[in-house]
Each structure stands twice: as structure tokens, then as C-alpha cells.
Symmetry: D4
Subunit: 223 residues, 8 copies
């Protein structure tokens, strides 16, 4: 455990971090608040980030609020951005979105109104980042991912295109970048994707831990 | 509808067909009997085969009994073969097994005692076919499948090896062969696998219909 | 499977088909949308039509939306026609209604306000067809049915009168006609009605398959 | 209400009456005892007989035990006759069986092992009556019924044949006969069968009251 | 069964009868309608009256609607009289109310605002009868009851006072009177109250049959 | 609170008290043990005795085990006396039994095999007391009760006769006597029985407190 | 039992007592009314006070209404004071609040908006007492408590500070004071806190009895 | 992430680790196997250890089996040691036991048969370790803990005595020692115990992460 004095972690002490996204972020969090005792933060990477910070830096409290909602695309985030992000006056906001934007194109090809194509994705995400920065918060951008090692797979290839958008926006906006896809890729070089989950999207606890590690390492967390 | 006189379907009128396998065959069938009113045949390809025959050949009754059990490997079939197949005195027996034999190698790599490797698979299946033929029934062999179009995918490649075993045994034993993997492949050339299911194993109704079609076409069914 | 080039099926590629009716159509579909993954299309003939098309014509996608609602009469359809049909901008609309219009006269003879007599039935159905055609959609009319082989049975005789209305309107409006009652009759000449269902209204999977066959054959579907 | 002195009802005061049969008799009775407070007698004609006797002849107690079991045929009754009838040392035993013996021939034609044909039905029922008389109890025989007014209907015609067996055995054994089918027929001349129930077997409260009336009238009950 | 021609029962053929009251009337009826297939009329005397009429006079249909609501006093009936009685345009209206008006004085003596004393009871009931007659319906008044044979018991004595009010109003308004308390008293001279129910208020099926008998006998019903 | 030094309560410090009886004693206790954290002692007088002792004499622990079982008569107690009393090696044993012995005679008059008449009651109870004393435990006898102020009521009169048996046995065996009926009578001179409970047997919390007071006062408890 | 004539208890006969607070007071009371038959008063000290008064002073009725709500702080009480206290026109009002005001500071240190600090606590409570007195009711103030014997424990020390506020306000307003913390302390000198409950807040039945005793003793109750 | 070559973690690659204990270890694991997909390892430190190893060392698989059972003391472990540990042929066995051994002395002081005193604790644990070593497995001993910072608290002091036993046995048997109490103490110097849990025993996710960290650090895990 780092001593209290030489802590260099990038989340400021006593700051408020809102984590928003889709079902991966949601993971069964309390509705509507996403904060409180028990399982209010859900069972996914958000709860793991909170537990890792709490157990490792007990002298450096970070208030985490989970605002993930299952099934969301960036179009859904836009609808609830004011209430679920800006109104909470966060110091940090992490965003992991895009999986459903891509997935619907592959599992529901006939329902075209449910597809969020890449132009809309980029424009909307860009707008949300800008609004968040204007409100004074630091943005943490997480790439969407697909737990498939074959980069020629049609859906993986498309997910990578959306991931490239996230990386470009992180650069443009000088945001912190968490490359979750890269985190999974380093594991997939050793095990088959089905070990982490059957649907290549909703990870096991090990998969959520991989996301939490990628997140914390991007923030200079030390174990 | 074919007229009653020129019916050439290979299942004999008033015969009894036992269909056995894993969760794909099971599909929520009644326990323990797998036969009766309502949803006793489950919601999968077995029920579709029954419905297609009943609606198309009402003058040519076939008694179908579903003996699929979720999670089964060929090792499990062996344990219950006497009670669930031989004792029922069937005229026809269809077998679709192997998916879990392969899957456990990929989703539970550390639990090696749950893996059924290809030698045990072939020997056991060969034995079950022989016992069934000795009991006077005609055997219908269905290949296991993986709903993934990339034949280089590690689990797809392994499933194909098990499918080759099935094809070889069909030839050896002069059994009827249903190439379910080929049935899926002709669909996967037009749509992405996620449209048929998320886990590449448990198909949607469309996927079950694809299996039922492959099955019936191998029996010279006419719509 | 027909090859992609010589497909003569009457549902246009990439078209949208809304299927509306009572509990036979509903069959446990998702509320309120009647579309999506899993069992959103229910467990009846609508899901079977979708599965048969998907498995047989994977290169020719048809978007199907189930708008059946249990217990509905044509009077109920009228109330929700704008929201559940017109607003969806369908290319094709199938209608199977009339069973409850007749049934209430026989199972609830004292509750006369629940009966929809034949004049109201014809006038309302005529109006709904006209509105649908004006909106640019092709109408597919399905006769209501009663799974009883005795045509002198009081309820069967009444159902046949309503079926005659449907046939007349199909002619008048140049709509596609699906004679579901005829589909059942050809089966009932071989088996007793109780084999298909106990209440002579809600069919087993075999019965739903008979409806799906009648529907698809009217559209020049090839297996 | 008859006065206590001139009561001519055929059930002896303080006697024990066991009523056995299938789901019509069972009607949700308490398991395994079929006797006690609350709904222990179920919701069918047995409970109505008990309530009618209790409300009309409070000075003349009859102990009623419900031993109906859903789905039973006469073959099932035979299996449990010692434990469920003889061991209870009843004074009177009513038997209504045969509906499932017939029904399975019509709703499950392929499952021939579930059919109880008329020879087995007559022989078994004859044997049960003889054993009951030997044990000193008076037997009350109730005809099985089918709530269908068309006597040419295949299943109704078959049910009538089984009913003739019951009438013949009542004569042979000098048992009390309850013609439940006749009770229904007098109602069906005024209303359509669906008013009493959808499946023509499990009656509404009105139908159960019709059975209770037929039963009590055969015993010279006075209102 | 009376023949159709000499039927002298006082409920007119094809008339509508609304039965209103407290939990004894309610008895688990369908909410909000109190009419329809299955158990819509509940499990109490209302359903028994319907079944007895249906089984005995099938040629003389009476439409019965159950509007009982558990816990109601006459004060509650007043609040819903327009919607639950007058708006239904009944031909006959039966009222059994008063048990809770009295009971709360004995089981909740401290909660005086829940007590409906005899002056309010009489005035309100008088008003409801008058409104009903003005609307053209025939009123059937049923006395409230307490299943206790000791007339000196404090609650029984109070219930009898309320019963006297009902009898007086029946005379004043020339309504049909059903003396349910007398119906129970003739049974209680033979058995202890606990045989009919433990709480002396909610009767067993036998008790409900006693009410139904008292009701039908007041209407010149013949078995 | 009494000081620790002058405590004269008759339950010895650190002693074990088994309390046995029917549903009044049971009151939802944990099965099978009747001891432990939470609601293991149930919600009735046993739990109140435990709580009153624990809150008033924290320095004088008494281990209480609830062995009440709903529906029990003295005949049932006899069957489980060895396992549920003797084997626990108690220092004190309280017995409250007899309510069901009497009640079944009044609520189930026809089921005579469920009645325990007074001779069997006395003989059995006498035997249980003797066995308990032989095992070295002090016996506390509680009279059964009926919450009815009218001593001429048939069931109350019978309960009083059983209570007299208990009083006589307490004298004979020099046991501690708790007159629970007297405890209720002093309350019933002020309020109607329905205030304490509807069925005159299962008391409200106030009624259970009345039993607990009678019990503790018989043991010289001081508040 | 005190005789009716020399009763000196401070709650006036036939008066109404509203008891308000957090989950300790609530204890599963009926929502929204907190009054009525069965478990309407919950399972805590409120129900015990009611039962002790009812069993000991049956001639001196006190109407108790439970208005506790789980999780409440004094800030929540303020919001509902008019509806839940003043509008009920009580004669006596007991208040036990403050546990959650303190607890949130210790179990949710990061969620500072959920903390009610001591200045707000005192000002708000003072205001509620004044409003209640103006409405003519006598106020009974109960100290909040923490079931921990170590007075140096950080949360116990803070709870004691809030308890001092309550004592000061009791003096200022001439209210009746119930020192619940003192009640627990006298028990904790004999047993470890875990015997009364695991979380040091929600007491067992013994703990609730300790509160009830402290409450009643402050009102000169005699056993 | 450490590279594959310089991995110095003490759990051997492809080894099997059985983790046994009480409810802290159990944490909702699958019964009876404690291994498999989904939540089979429960929600506590066992699952976190598995996830941390899986995400950090994907090239170094460790098979973990959870054999914790809620409420267990060392006496319970002894009963199931052969079946749940030895028969599994583990390479490593972690044991965390003692919390209930101590707790029962404090929350159930009267139930002395549920207490496991320190002599029995040490002797039994010593025996289990010896048997495990004889079977060829490496033992990892974890101290029991109490999440209370006051070392003078009676239960904390007792838990520390049991912890000393564990440390002594670790030394004697040359086992790996995990000082979980020390892990909690370093956190409790910054936050109040209620932040980690209300009952000072069952920790939040943060508390379980603290145990996992202590465990992994004792095995030279690197993040």
C-alpha cells in the first residue's frame, strides 16, 4: 500500500466520480440512485474500482456513482445527460459506450431504427464530452470492446472502428483514455473468449476485473 | 401437401422416434417423460419436427419422444442409454451430441475432468450406435455445430473435427446423416452469427427451424 | 432452398409486415412492441412464419412485427388501428380477427354487450382494410376458424358465416386471402379436434404450424 | 327444509361417504387426505354435495372424504383402491371414472399405452365394485360425461359407450346410479356447451352444481 | 326441475341482478368487474346462487354481477352507489351490509371513527334503497348476521338490532326480505358455530350455501 | 428492576426451560430447533417471557427452548415427548395443551378420530408429568383457555372441564400452576373477545402478553 | 394488576398517543396507517407498549398510532410532521429520532448530503416540539441510542451528544423524558452488545422490551 | 502485468487451490460444488482472488474451488474435511475459520453447546492441518478477524486470541500465513468499522477486497 504522502493517483481526494455507460457499467446497480450501501454499485467493474480504491487507499476517499443503464447507446446517454451527469456536479466522469450502437447492427439487422451508425456516434459523443468539460469535470473515455480475438470478425472490426473514434476524441479533448479492448486482447492471447463469457459482451468477474485494471492503471493506481 | 398415396418420407407410419441429445434437443421438454400434451416436447427443433410432420402429414402419424438433457456430453448419454433409449423400444433414434464435449474445453479449460476428448467421443458414440442397431432401430446421426462462420476459430475447428467423426460413423453404420453444421453454414453466408443467437450455441427459433429443415430434408420430407 | 435469383415469394425483400389479431396471433408476444430478440414474436404462427422465412430465405429479409392482443374483437382493433398499424408504416398487414366476436355469443350469452354481431364485424373490418390500403400497404386477410369438424355445430356454423365475410371482403378489396379454416379442415378429416387443442380455439404447435403453412402457401413460399 | 322426522334421504345418518374419481372429483382437494376444514374437499361437486347436505340437513351429518385425483383412469383407481377406499371403511362409495380412459384415445392418439379400452374398463370397474361390496359398502355409480350435445361426435359417442357400461354394472350390482351425462344433456338443450366450459370436460360452478343435483336427486335429497 | 312453462321464480327472465355487500358478498370476485368466465363471481353465496339458477333453470337466464367489496360498511356503499349500482341499470339489486358496521365497534373499540352507529346505518341504507327504486330496480334486502347462537352475546345482540332495521326498511319500501340470520339460526340449533367458521363471520361453503338457500327461497326458487 | 441480590424469581439462574404446547406456544417458532437468534422463539408468549426476563433480569440468564407445534393435542405431545422434552435434559418444563383436544369436537364433529376426550386427556397428561418429574425437571402446568366470557357457551364449558383436569394434576403432582383462562377472564370483563382475536383461540399480542403475565406472575417475577 | 380506582399512569384514559421515529419505531408497521388489527403496530417497542397497556390496564384504553418510518432522520420527520402528527390531533406524541442522523456520518462518510449534523438536529427537533405543544399535545422525548458499551467508541460518543440535545430540549420544553440509552446501558453491564443485536442499532425482542420498559416506567406504569 | 517469464507467485501453474471456511468464504457460492461458470465461486474474497489472478496472470491458470459454508466452526470443518478437502486432491488449501467459534460465545451466551473454546479450536485445527499436509498439499492459514478497532472490546480481544493460535500453528507447520485481521486494522485506522459493514463480520466488497489483497500479497502476487 502506498503511504498517504506519496500518493500520485489521478483522482483527487474527496472528489466525485460519475461512471456512465450501458449494461457493462450498470451490472445490476441500484435504481435510480446508483449509490449507497450494499450492492448499490452493482456487480461489475464499477464496484471493483470502488473496492480496489477503498481497500488500497482508505485515507483517500473517492465518491463513485454508477449511472450505467442496460441496453443504452450513445443516443440514450444524450437523453439523460443533464439529469444523470451534469446535475450531479461531478469532478470526474467516465464514459464507456458504443457496444449496443454496434451490436444492434449485427443481432437485429432488420430493425434499422435501432442502429447508431458511426457518424451519429462520433457527433453525439463529442457533444457530451464538450458539455461535461464546460461543466468543469475531467472526462475519462473508455473504448467499447468485443471479446473476440479475430480482428477480421465483422463485428469486432466494426467495434474497432468505434474504438478509434473514442481514441481520436480523447486526443482532441485531452481526456484520459482507457483502452479496454486492449486490456481484453492481452488476455485473449492466452485463453479462448468463451472462458470470459459466452456472448463476447457481458464479461465474467475476471473480465470485469480486466476492465477495472485497465481503468485504474490509466489513473496511475498502485496496488 | 403430398397426397396420402405417394408419400415417400423415410419415417414409417405409426413408428416411434426417440430424439436424444443435449440442451439444443432438450429445449425445455417435460421431465422426465418428454412426451404428452402442451410443451412436453420443448420449444426447439424436436417440437418443430413434430409440428411440421403433424401439419403436413396428418394421415401419417409419427410418435416422437424427446430425451434431450441440457449439459449432456456423450459420456452422459452412455449412462442413460438403456433407460432412455433401449427400454422405449424405438423404431428410429436421432442423436445430436458433442457440443458440450467440445465447449467445456473452451469455456472451462481448468476443469479438465469435464472435457470429453475426441477418442472417448468416437468410441462411446460408436458403442451407442451399435447397441441401438442391435435393438432393431434405425439410427439418425446429426452433427454437432457451432454457429460461427470463421472455420479457423479454435472452437469451430474443434467442432468440425467432432463433426467428421459423426460423418465417418454414419458411413460405417449405414445410418442416416443430418449435417446440421452445413445447414447453419448456408445461413451464415448471409447473416452474422449474432442474429441467430448470442452464444453461438443455443439458436433462436430461426436456428431451430434450420435444424428441423436439415433433419426433415434428410428424410425426404416434402412441404 | 430456392436460390436467391428465382425467388417468387410475394413478400418484397426488406419489406415490413405487421401481423395483427387476437390471442392466436398474440401467443405471448412482447408487450408493447412485439418485436426484438428472444420470444418477442410470441410462440404462435407469427413466430413460425418468421422462422420459416429466416431459415429458408436468409438472403431475403422480411421484418415482422406482431401486434396481436389476446381477447380482441374487431371492435378492439378499430380502437388501436392508428397506433398499432398505420403509424408503423407497414408494407404488408395481415389480419386474423373474428374468433372472439363469435365466441362471446356462445360462452357468455348473457353478456350481450360483449358480442360483436356480423353487421358490425363486416362494416368495421371493411373500414380497417380501406384505411390500410389508403396508407399504401398490401392487406392479407385470414379467415377466423373453429377447430371443429361438424359444420352443423352452432358455433362452427356462425364462424363460417364470419369467414364468408372475410372472403367477400378479400374479393372486394383485391386482398390476399388465407383460408385458415380450410387449413384446419384438411387436418380434421384425419384426426379428432382434441388432438390439436382442448378448447377448439387455441391450437397446439401443430395447429399453429397449420396456420403458418396456409399463410405462407398463399404467398407462394417454397420450402 | 325437511323436518328431521320424515327424512327419507338414502345416505344413512352419521355414515361415511368416500367419493373417488378423476380431476372432476378432485377439483383441488387437500392432498393426501381430502378431508378437513377450509377447502379440503376441493371446489367441485363433492364440496357442493357436502354444502348442500350440511345446509339442508344439519341434524343428519354425513362424513364425506374426497379421493379424486386429476388424470386418473380406472387403471389408476385399481392401483390405489385398497389404500384410498377399502382401508377407510366407508359406508358409501361413489365412483365417477372413465373420462380420461376415453379422452386419451382422442387427444393423444399416438400414445396408445395411455388408452384404456372398453373391455379393460368394464372388467376393472366390475372388480372394484365387487371388492367394495364385499367390504360392506354401498356403491354409487356415476356415468362419465362429455359436455357436447352432438351425440354423433366421435368422442361423445365413445363416452356414451362407457356410460352404458356403468349403467349395466349398476344394474348387475344393484348399485345406485347417477346419470351425470343425462344431467348435462338437459342443460345442453338450452345453452351451447362453451357456456359450461371450453374444453367440454372441466365444468364451471354451474356444471358442478348440475352434477351435485344429479347425485343428490338419485339419493332422494329434498331441498 | 320445474318445466319452463310453470316457472314462478320472482327474478324475471333475462333480467340483470346486481349483488352488493361486504367480504361475504365479495368472496374473492374479479376486480373491478365482478362478472365473466371462471371465478369472476367469487367463491361465496353469489356464485352459488348463479350456479343453482344456471343448473336448475337453464331456459331462464339471469345475469348476475357481484359488487361486494371486503371490509365495506354502509358508509362505503354510499360512496360507490352511483358507479357500482345505478350506472349498471340493474333490474334487481340485493344488499347485504352491516356486519362491519357492527364488528368494528367490537374488535376495534378504540378506533371510533371506524364505527357506523345504528342511526347512520338506517338513514344511509334508507337513502340507498330510495335511490335504487327511483332508478327502477327491485330491491332485495338481506339481514346482516352473526354466526353465534347466544342471543345475549353483546355483538349478536347488536347485530340483531341492525337486522331489525333491515326488516323495518323492507316493510317500508316493500322490498323482498331475506332473513339470513334466521337461516343460520336454524342450523345453529344443531351444530356449534365453529363448525361453520372460526370467526363467526366468514362462513364455510356450507354457510354460504345456507345464505344462498335463504336468498333463493325468498324468491320462490324450486330445486 | 430488582437488584441482583434480592431476586426471588422461581426459575433458577442458568437453568433451561422447555416450553411445549400447540399453536399458541409455537407461534411461528424456528423448526426444528425452537432456539437461536432472530425469531427462533416465535411471536407469542414464549418470546415475550424470554424478552421480559432478558430485559428485567439481565444478570440472571434463563435458557428457553420453544417446542410448541401447531395443531397438537396431548396425543401428539406423547409421541414426541422423549425427543422434544426428555432428551433436552431441561430443568423446567411448561405445558399448555388441550385447546385442540376440545376444539376438534366442535369444529369437526364428524371426524371423531380427531377428538381427544377428557379421560384420554387426563391419563396422557398425567403420564407425561410423571415422566418429566422422574427425569428431574420441575413442571409448570398452564390451563388451556377459550377467549369467550360466556361460561355457558358449549365449547367454553368443555374447555373449563379440561382446565379443571390441569388444576387437579397440578395439585397431585405439586406442580406450578398457571391459570391462563383466569388471566383472560379478568380482561374479558372489560372488553369483548373479538378485540383480542376473531377466532377466540389465537390471541393478539395483547392476548399473548396476558399469558406471559400470568406465567411470570406464577413464578414471582417482578417488573 | 392495579385496580381501576388507584391508577396513576400518566397517559389519560381514552387518549390518543402517536409514536413517531425511524426504523426502530416502524418495525414493520402497516403502511400508511400504522393502526388496526393484526400486526399494524409492527413488531417493536410500540407493539409491546400497546400489549403491556392492554393486558395490564384493560379498563383504561389508550389509542396508539405508529408513525415510524425506516431510515428517517429529523429532516424527514419535519417533512411529514403536519400530515403524520398534527393532523391526527393526538393527546400525546412520543419522538425517538437521531440514530440515522448520526449513523450516516459513520457508515456513508462520503455521502455528506445524507448527514444531519447536530445544529440542524437540535433546531429542527426544537421546532417540531414547539409545533406539537402549540397543537395541545404532551410531548414524550426518547433519546436515540447505540447498543455499544464503550463510551469512547466514535459513534457512541456522537450518539451521546445527540442524546444530550434531547435531554436539554426535554428540560426546556417541560416534556416527559425517556432515557432509552440508559435503559440499554444497564443491560450492557451484564451482556455483550451482540446478544441484543449484531448491528448495534436494530434490537432483538429483548432490546425492544428494554425500550418499552424505559418508556412505560417514565409514565409511572405499574405491572 | 508481470511477463510470463519472471513470474514468482507462489501458487504453482495449473495447480488446484481449495479455499474453505465459514460464511465469509462461502459468500453465496454454488452448492454443492463451489466451482463452475457464473457465480459458482460466490461474491466474496474467493471470487476476487480468482478474478485478480485470471486478469493479471492469464498465462498461469490456477483452479480454485470454494468450499466455504455459512455458520461453520472448526468443529463443522472437521466433519466434512475428508469429502470437501482430502478427496479433492488439492495442491493448496486455504483455511479461514474461527469467527463463529468466537461469535457464538458473545451473541448466544446461553447456548453453551454452540461454543467452540480455544483448546478445542487449536487441537482441531492442528489436526486438520496435519491431515492436509500428509495428503501432500500446501496449507495457507488465514487469521479470523473482527472489524472493530478497539482491541479492548471483549469479542475483539477473544478473536485476537484465536488469531494468535493461527499464527502459532502457521509457524509450527511451516504454513503460509495470511494476517487478515492486520489487513482490516490498517483500514480501520482511517475509517469507522460501520463503513465496511454493520455487523463487524460480513464485509462489504471493499472488505472482501482487503481480504483478497492480504491473501495475494502473502503469495507474492504482483498487480
Amino acid at each position: 500500500m502506498r503511504s498517504e504522502s506519496n500518493n500520485t493517483m489521478r483522482l483527487t481526494k474527496n472528489s466525485k466520480l460519475v461512471m456512465i455507460g450501458d449494461s457493462i457499467t450498470d451490472a445490476g446497480r441500484a435504481q435510480p440512485d446508483g449509490e449507497g450501501l450494499g450492492d448499490a454499485l452493482g456487480h461489475g467493474y464499477v464496484a471493483l474500482v470502488d473496492a480496489l480504491l477503498g481497500a488500497t487507499y482508505p485515507y483517500h476517499p473517492i465518491r463513485i456513482i454508477n449511472k450505467g443503464t442496460g441496453g443504452n447507446t450513445v443516443r440514450d446517454l444524450k437523453r439523460r445527460w443533464q439529469a444523470d451527469v451534469i446535475d450531479l456536479k461531478p469532478d470526474f466522469v467516465s464514459i464507456m459506450i458504443g457496444i449496443n450502437d454496434v451490436w444492434r447492427q449485427f443481432d437485429s439487422p432488420k430493425q434499422v431504427d435501432s442502429h447508431v451508425y458511426i457518424e451519429e456516434y462520433e457527433a453525439t459523443l463529442n457533444d457530451l464530452i464538450a458539455r461535461t468539460k464546460s461543466a468543469g469535470a475531467t472526462v475519462i473515455l473508455m473504448t467499447p470492446f468485443y471479446i473476440e480475438s479475430n480482428r477480421d470478425d465483422a463485428m469486432r472490426a466494426q467495434m474497432d472502428r468505434y474504438g478509434e473514434v473514442v481514441k481520436r476524441l480523447a486526443l482532441t479533448h485531452d481526456s484520459i483514455l482507457v483502452d479496454t479492448q486492449a486490456g481484453f486482447d492481452s488476455i485473449l492471447s492466452h485463453i479462448y473468449s468463451a472462458t470470459l463469457c459466452w456472448d463476447r459482451v457481458h464479461p465474467s468477474k475476471t473480465g470485469h476485473m480486466a476492465i477495472a485494471r485497465a481503468f485504474l492503471n490509466a489513473l496511475d493506481f498502485e496496488w
